[in-house]
């Protein structure tokens, strides 16, 4: 009976989480189009509904009813698999993000997280490293020059920045003393880690943006040289899944930044879930702002930034943090 109850609660949690993620993803697209338009002195979508608010729904219907084309020369199975890999790995990362403190429901304590793994941070990291397959395989399976170039660029970029991403989180784990995301949030009940670890924060945000392949790191889909890069040959909802993956990734980035550096759901006056949503929203806004502001990096600049700046700085940061914890007795 207890097993059954646990399973039901788990399924409800997953359903609410996925529903929320997809809804927010579709409205992030709207927000991005609207904000970018304003940044570029345009109007943006304003025909479907008031302020164009029904535009995401119209887009979704269009994508779902469009004809899907699989190129004759493509590797059919992998071509169909790749978009799903991108979307699924992005969505699964939310399984370990804590939304708030445990709540009491009908006399039982229900944790506000789908699963609190004791290797939660590594789980996120593993999924992020699997996301590379979606891009690389999507580019390869299309059997097209531009898609292949995009896929190779994507793989190279994501492998390079994964290292910096992982190393930037080591000081966070050292301070919290755990890989569990719940424990990391609990460790920030006083001071959020952005105050203690500003360097880590900067490295994390830069390399996570590179992982999400957005401007200024959008070389895998650079439209003026590669068509659309790794998803050139995709159409209909398969293209939609790549798109969805990108916008879920923005939320993941916001949630992880909030959990690792901004104190997660901690905050005064407002309920915990609202605080977390607010922090995710702010990070998403800043990402859209960056997209509207910066030009794309050149390929050698991208590699130099990753390997010659971010990785050495994060290694030094780890040593300095270790010295502080050891000698200043501060943790």
């Amino acid at each position: 009976m207890n097993y059954l109850l646990g399973l039901i609660v788990l399924l409800i949690k997953i359903a609410v989480m996925l529903g929320g993620l997809l809804l927010v993803a579709s409205y992030l697209v709207w927000l991005e189009r609207k904000l970018l338009a304003r940044l570029q002195i345009r109007l943006g979508p304003n025909r479907a509904g008031i302020f164009g608010l029904l535009q995401p729904i119209a887009d979704a219907i269009k994508l779902l009813t469009k004809e899907e084309i699989v190129p004759t020369a493509a590797d059919g199975f992998i071509f169909r698999l790749a978009p799903a890999v991108v979307a699924v790995t992005a969505m699964m990362m939310f399984a370990v993000v804590p939304l708030g403190p445990d709540i009491r429901l009908f006399g039982r304590s229900v944790p506000m997280v789908i699963t609190d793994l004791n290797v939660g941070l590594l789980f996120v990291f593993a999924l992020s490293s699997l996301g590379v397959y979606g891009v690389a395989l999507g580019g390869w399976a299309s059997n097209s020059k531009f898609a292949l170039l995009g896929g190779i660029r994507g793989a190279a970029q994501m492998i390079s920045y994964e290292l910096a991403l992982g190393l930037s989180l080591v000081p966070v784990v050292m301070l919290a003393g755990s890989f569990s995301l719940t424990a990391i949030v609990d460790a920030q009940s006083g001071v959020p880690f952005i105050v203690l670890q500003p360097v880590s924060f900067a490295i994390f945000v830069i390399s996570a943006m590179a992982e999400s392949k957005r401007i200024p790191f959008d070389l895998p889909e650079a439209e003026n040289e590669l068509g659309a890069g790794f998803h050139t040959e995709y159409s209909g909802m398969r293209f939609g899944l790549f798109f969805l993956g990108e916008y879920v990734h923005i939320q993941v980035l916001g949630a992880l930044t909030a959990v690792f550096f901004l104190g997660g759901w901690h905050g005064p006056w407002l309920p915990p879930v609202v605080w977390l949503m607010l922090k995710i929203f702010i990070v998403a806004l800043i990402m859209i702002w960056i997209r509207g502001t910066l030009p794309r990096l050149r390929y050698d600049q991208l590699m130099a930034l990753g390997w010659k700046v971010l990785i050495p700085v994060s290694l030094i940061n780890i040593v300095v943090t270790g010295a502080f914890i050891q000698f200043a007795g501060f943790s």
């Binding site: 992998i78 290797v119 490293s129 699997l130 395989l137 190779i152 994964e162």
Partner: protein
Amino acid sequence: MSILTLLFYAIALLIVAATAMAVTRRNMVHAVLYLVLSFFGTAMLFYLLGAPFLAALEIIIYAGAIMVLFLFLIMMIRLKKLPGMFFPVGQLLPAIFICAGFLAVSSVLVGGNPEGWTPMPAAQASPAAFGVYLFQTHWLAVEIASMLLLVALVGAYVLGRRVRGPSADTRKEAP
């Protein structure tokens, strides 16, 4: 037969099947994907045996980094499919010898110690416990492995470095 035993055999079957597919595929990308599936199985096995930390590392390092590099290379060089026998005899024989030797050594190692056959109680190692054990009892092996990796890194750098004259780009930048 507990549910854990059933899961163990199901996952073991998955690993063996995926690895067999990986070895016999002619399309290199498919082979890489089957190998990734096999690593997934190994990670599940680690998780089942109470080592979530190792399971995560298996996915991050093997499935997420090493196999991506393999894929990267395969995508870059586009191999032609060779006609004829898949395994030439010259490769097949050494492979069989190595497998037989490995089987002999491992069965002696496992079978020689009667404790090797008794089932262990279910336990779960926390990442901290794992780290303390590894770096206190096996620090020498860890250091040797890291030295080996360093040597490999330097070797790869030396092999990959191309000595060439100033190209058009660098000449242009120089005053």
